[in-house]
């Protein structure tokens, strides 16, 4: 079956046609031979009936008188006059089944039982020559004046009829084989011609390197056939493929612009956030230039802020791949964050709850940049959501194998758009900020998870990142 499937369609269809032709040929031949057999049967039955009736008329009186010589002599003469010696042997028996005479007395001796000769004998009504036997036996009652006075057993030579049937069979076989062969070749060529458009189509599709090429109008099959429609559909499909490729190219281009926008926005965001703290440090230096300890502290802040800006710039350069080889996360990073968000908290007269209870060891297993970025974005977002005189909180805790960051605000909770950006992997619709999506992406890169819940008029965004980087974190 598998082998048949591997045969090309252009060969399989003509082969199928040839097979059907052969089948039809065989059926037709059988029908012809059957009809020939019936005709021969009818002919031989008529002949046998005639012969038996003639013999009955001629032999009746002799059989009745037990005149053996006359029976024999009549049989001899009848056998000699039979056309083509059809009847090769005839025996006549009396009503008791004893042979009176036969054309071959040695084979059927006088007074021997005729039953010894009648094995397989047929009656005139059912006489058939459809077998391969060259001779058939016929047993008929010898009727004289309306009553059976004996029996006639005759052997008919039907070799010519059998040979005729064989000859007819051979001729039919030869004729059918010839016709089937010719028609198969014609069928093969016709099918091949009819299937040529498909072959061309397949070749075109196979040879297609990038974009499928349409088949020229000049090569279209003539008329409005299935093939024409198929090729036209193929051509329409190639046009659609080209159009789709164009669309994809345009979309990719637009996406590039969107990414560029996001990058710019992120860059501005990341630069803008620490700028408040840095400017504050500069003001502190100016104001307390005479106090070396304050100046040193401010210089440290400036240094860390500028380092952060450098990291941001580095991260921007790496696009979405933040530098994991930067300095490990420490308590100072959270202090920096407190300083960075401090101006915004003060400006909005908000209350800030700050609690970092995780161990330094746990913190140091992470690079500082991603979690600083995550914390900063979420804190700024929480501050914006809490509004004037609102409440913002940061809690950094540690569970076995998991570092938990929980940022809360007293605002109305996350909008659907914000929730989609932060919590789901679905594509971000155009427009809106990129900060929350950046949080989502960074946490995902750390194999962490983000969840949100509202508890006692507070909205919390919980971030859980596994301390062992390969494990997926469980929620905090």
């Amino acid at each position: 079956m598998e082998a048949i499937r591997r045969i090309p369609l252009s060969l399989r269809v003509p082969l199928l046609a040839a097979g059907l032709m052969i089948l039809v040929g065989i059926i037709a031949s059988r029908q012809v031979l059957s009809t020939l057999g019936q005709v021969q049967d009818a002919r031989i039955r008529e002949l046998a009936q005639l012969q038996v009736e003639s013999l009955s008329v001629a032999l009746g009186p002799h059989v009745l008188r037990d005149d053996i010589w006359e029976v024999y002599d009549t049989l001899e003469r009848a056998a000699g006059e039979t056309e083509g010696r059809r009847m090769v042997f005839t025996a006549v028996a009396d009503e008791h089944g004893h042979v009176l005479a036969a054309t071959d007395p040695v084979r059927a001796p006088l007074d021997s039982p005729i039953s010894a000769l009648t094995e397989g004998a047929q009656t005139p009504e059912t006489l058939s020559v459809t077998g391969d036997a060259a001779r058939v036996r016929l047993l008929a009652p010898l009727l004289y004046q309306g009553r059976a006075v004996g029996q006639i057993m005759t052997e008919l030579d039907v070799a010519d009829l059998v040979a005729e049937r064989w000859r007819a069979g051979r001729l039919l076989l030869l004729g059918n084989a010839l016709a089937t062969g010719v028609l198969s070749i014609l069928g093969y060529l016709a099918m091949r011609r009819m299937l040529m458009p498909i072959a061309r189509l397949v070749r075109r599709m196979r040879e297609t390197a990038d974009a499928p090429e349409p088949i020229p109008e000049s090569d279209l099959p003539r008329g409005d056939t299935e093939m024409t429609r198929l090729v036209r559909t193929y051509n329409a499909m190639t046009d659609a493929v080209v159009a789709k490729a164009d669309t994809e190219r345009r979309l990719a281009e637009r996406e590039r612009f969107v990414s560029l926008g996001r990058l710019s926005s992120s860059l501005a965001h990341e630069i803008n956030n620490p700028l408040g703290g840095l400017l504050n440090a500069v003001d502190t230096v100016r104001q307390y230039a005479d106090r070396p300890d304050v100046v040193r502290q401010s210089a440290d802040i400036l240094s860390r802020g500028l380092n952060h800006l450098r990291d941001v710039a580095q991260a921007t350069l790496d696009q979405n791949r933040l530098d994991r080889s930067s300095a490990p996360l420490s308590f100072e990073d959270f202090e920096d964050l407190r300083l960075l968000v401090g101006p915004e908290i003060s400006r909005q007269e908000q209350k800030l709850n700050w609690q970092v209870s995780a161990s330094g060891e746990a913190l140091s297993s992470f690079a500082s940049a991603p979690l600083r970025q995550v914390s900063l974005n979420l804190l700024l977002n929480a501050s914006a959501a809490a509004g004037t005189k609102g409440e913002v909180s940061l809690m950094v805790s540690e569970k076995p194998g998991v570092l938990c960051l929980s940022i809360g605000d007293s605002g109305d909770g996350l909008s659907d758009a914000a929730r989609a950006r932060l919590l789901s992997d679905a594509p971000v619709p155009p427009g809106g900020g990129v900060g929350l999506r950046l949080v989502h992406d960074l946490v995902k890169e750390l194999n962490g998870s983000v969840s949100s819940e509202r508890k006692e008029s507070m909205t919390f965004v919980d971030v859980a990142v596994p301390i062992a980087p390969t494990e997926v974190s469980s929620p905090c």
Partner: protein, 285 residues
């Protein structure tokens, strides 16, 4: 009134006799009885015989053929035929009513034999060896084709129907040879003259048979006529014609075809041998 003179009357009488008798004598065909028991239906033989006799007798010859000796003998006795070629046995059966006209001469003698024949491969050497077999006779009134074998058996105290398992009559000596030759029957009783003639004319028929025994020489089947008609001119003419058959061309050809030398006169004593056999046969019966 018409006056008749003696001369006129004589002339008239002569004319009347001539006119009344001569056409009857001249046109009445001669009826000769034949049987295929002895003479097979050979058209040429019959034609030649008829022509030769017609030429000799001066009248047409009507050959009356019947299947059996009994039928031909019956025709002869009732007068339906003028003469017949019979067998010695029916002649002797009706010896008082029949007379011999002529007897054929074969191999220089008016004698022949009866042959007991069997198939070529049969190992029988004598009649007794054929016991229980099937046997073909030619005619129940034939000397060579029945009486000889039946009387031989009678001399042994046997009857054909008891000695043989089955007997058939073929009503022709040639048919007896065919029946034995084809294997229809094991043995047969046949005219020795016919068998010898067939051995020359149709050797393929006789070569599948063998002669087991031959009888003594017996009187050849004669031409007979009713004794009370032997004085008739046409029967005398027949005798002359038969005796002189070899003298005419047609007669010579006919005799040649029959493989006979000619015809001769004979006395009833010629058939004494058959007579003895009849007695032996009838004694048992």
């Amino acid at each position: 009134m018409i006056e008749f003179t003696r001369r006129t009357l004589l002339c008239s009488g002569s004319a009347a006799v001539f006119l009344g008798a001569t056409p009857t004598e001249a046109e009445e065909p001669f009826h000769l009885g034949l049987t295929p028991v002895f003479l097979d239906n050979d058209a040429e033989v019959i034609g030649r015989l008829r022509t030769a006799l017609a030429a000799a007798l001066g009248v047409p010859i009507e050959l009356e053929q019947r299947r059996t000796y009994e039928e031909v003998t019956g025709l002869l006795l009732e007068g339906s035929v003028d003469a017949a070629w019979l067998c010695g046995y029916p002649y002797l059966q009706h010896k008082d009513a029949l007379s011999l006209v002529a007897v054929p001469v074969w191999n220089g003698k008016p004698l022949y034999q009866s042959y007991l024949i069997a198939g070529k491969e049969d190992d029988a050497l004598k009649l007794e060896d054929l016991r229980g077999g099937t046997h073909a006779f030619s005619d129940p009134d034939s000397n060579s084709g029945y009486l000889v074998t039946a009387s031989d058996l009678a001399r042994l105290g046997l009857r054909p129907e008891g000695f043989f398992r089955r007997t058939i009559f073929t009503y022709g000596h040639r048919n007896v040879v065919r029946a034995v030759s084809d294997g229809l029957v094991r043995s047969g009783s046949v005219d020795g003259y016919v068998w010898e003639t067939l051995a020359k004319a149709e050797p393929k028929l006789t070569e599948r048979t063998q002669v087991i025994s031959r009888s003594e020489w017996l009187g050849f089947p004669p031409f007979c006529a009713r004794a009370d008609r032997m004085g008739e001119a046409r029967l005398r003419a027949l005798r002359e014609a038969l005796l002189g058959l070899g003298q005419t061309e047609e007669g010579h050809i006919a005799l040649g075809l029959l493989q006979l030398d000619g015809m001769t006169t004979a006395t009833p004593e010629l058939f004494d041998g058959i007579e003895r056999r009849i007695r032996d046969y009838e004694n048992l019966r």
